[in-house]
Symmetry: C2
Subunit: 319 residues, 2 copies
């Protein structure tokens, strides 16, 4: 979803960091829908966990790679092999393909690589606000896979194989479209579905606190990471991004403000112990001062996140 | 070397945690020398990075696995592929072999696994003393590989595939025997060689501070990790172990106290920029209160480390 929004933005701008975009390749497990753009876009269905795929994807030596490919947290927890295969091995195959291409180029090829990590690299118990030097002790296989990719990204960057940056995205909310298998899916569902006049299930308590940013902010993060001066990162290539810390109750208040009590009534409380257990291990609040200092910006309230959704998805709130 | 000393200790004790040892397998890239013990020991030369090896090693379902296999920091930095192949993939193959054996056993097989990690998982800049919740941002490929294995160990333990504990050993000092390719080798060399009346090269400044423990302490750490109640660890399975923080100058003072000025004169200062750069990224001092609280014990001064070497290696200091 973020990849789609990113491509739409690149297609609309036709340029990035002051330079025109000459071509792009858009890859997902199902071929991304065609997109009108002032530059050619190759759209392909590929599985990056298949060893023959990454060398093909890197063969034309793109200057910039956004690596968003991942199966989601719930699926990685349910299917151990698939999670490691896609989220760890797939990422590593891409990294290796770049390294091999650099060797073939006699060292000349060194692309920028923007990787989406997750706050799931952190695991409870947490301090009140998680600082930039807090350790990564994930409590899910998904978080483990992301933390490992962060380490690989830093080492490959240090070695000069590519110029990498890892972005620990907040939970992206409000996600448009259909629910996915992410354990975090309900955070969007309880806003998106009632706004469309549909019922949504809330599987956790109202007191659950979480860390959010809009799809609009996520695209902004990716573009900033693609164009900023990475020298400022030093060897510490992975960043916790800014976001909004909100409880489910605060989310519901923002829904009420946008669409009234009738919308709120569409939220059905039905506890799910599996989701509750996963979410209980997730972080709730960050001091993302390093990323803010490097120019990354997010919303400042959950109300702003809801308004961004209404604007960007051209949804009118049913009051 | 630590593996050898561990096996000697197990052979001498014939028991561990109050239970008799019934058999053991001792594996290294060259077959370990035979050892007299009250239980049978199979000694084998194996490369754990060869995919057919780990399933064979785990096939007889050992109750306890000490996983010390690793190529050293200098070699992992010089040979990128070999470092990842042995230190990451080899470890992961062992973990996977255990997981498969558990599945074959219908869930009954769940061994204890003691893994040796390293303080190289940390990278400068550091606080004055590194706490138990400081993040892992290694500045070497070796440190990266160890940090990744720590994450895997925690996830495989959380999933219940084995009961794992990762030990971030201090630099082991004084190492007996011949120099190896570890960038940290000189920390032992400047003590061991002069004590034997031989010249030693010091490639860094006297002011360099580092974190040490004796081979005797290292064996103690491994035995404690093999027998302690791991429930106390919770989900945070990797521990920074206690040690002695000492500058090279303090090491030299301890050598002087043990063997006099003549020994100190055998240290030849010859700066090596490669080693200096690697060592500059290493940590110097830890607050290892979590491990101390869990019963791990080390020396309290570098003089004590030198005395342990003289006793355990039956070396008489030439004064």
């Amino acid at each position: 979803m973020i990849g789609r929004k990113l491509m739409e933005r690149l297609a609309a701008d036709g340029a990035l960091g002051g330079a025109g975009i000459t071509s792009a390749r858009s890859v997902d497990i199902v071929a991304p829908a065609p997109l009108k753009a002032p530059f050619p876009i190759v759209s392909e269905a590929c599985d990056i966990a298949a060893p023959y795929v990454p060398p093909r994807l890197i063969a034309d030596r793109p200057d910039l790679i956004f690596l968003l490919a991942s199966i989601v947290s719930g699926e990685a927890e349910a299917d151990f092999d698939k999670g490691y295969s896609v989220n760890l091995d797939g990422t590593r195959l891409i990294f290796e393909a770049i390294r091999r291409e650099q060797a073939l180029s006699g060292g000349a090829y060194r692309p920028r690589l923007v990787f989406t990590s997750s706050v799931a690299v952190f695991g409870a118990p947490f301090p009140e606000a998680i600082g930039d030097e807090f350790f990564t002790t994930p409590l899910t296989s998904y978080g483990t896979q992301k933390a490992i990719c962060e380490l690989l990204l830093a080492d490959y960057s240090r070695r000069g194989f590519f110029d990498g940056i890892g972005l620990r995205l907040p939970t992206i909310c409000v996600r448009p479209g259909l629910p996915n298998k992410a354990a975090s899916g309900f955070f969007s569902g309880i806003i998106r579905e009632p706004l469309a006049g549909k019922e949504a299930i809330l599987p956790v308590a109202d007191t659950v606190r979480h860390w959010h940013a809009s799809p609009r902010s996520a695209v902004g993060f990716l573009l900033h990471a693609a164009t900023m001066d990475l020298a400022a990162l030093g060897a510490r290539r992975n960043l916790t991004l800014p976001g909004v810390s909100a409880t489910v109750a605060e989310q519901i208040d923002a829904l009420r403000a946008a669409a009234g009590e009738a919308a709120v009534k569409l939220i059905r409380r039905e506890r799910d112990p599996v989701i509750e257990r996963i979410v209980a291990g997730w972080p709730t609040r960050f001091d993302a001062s390093r990323a803010r200092g490097l120019g990354f910006k997010a919303e400042s309230s959950f109300g702003e996140i809801v308004r961004a959704y209404l604007e960007d998805e051209h949804v009118s709130a049913r009051a």
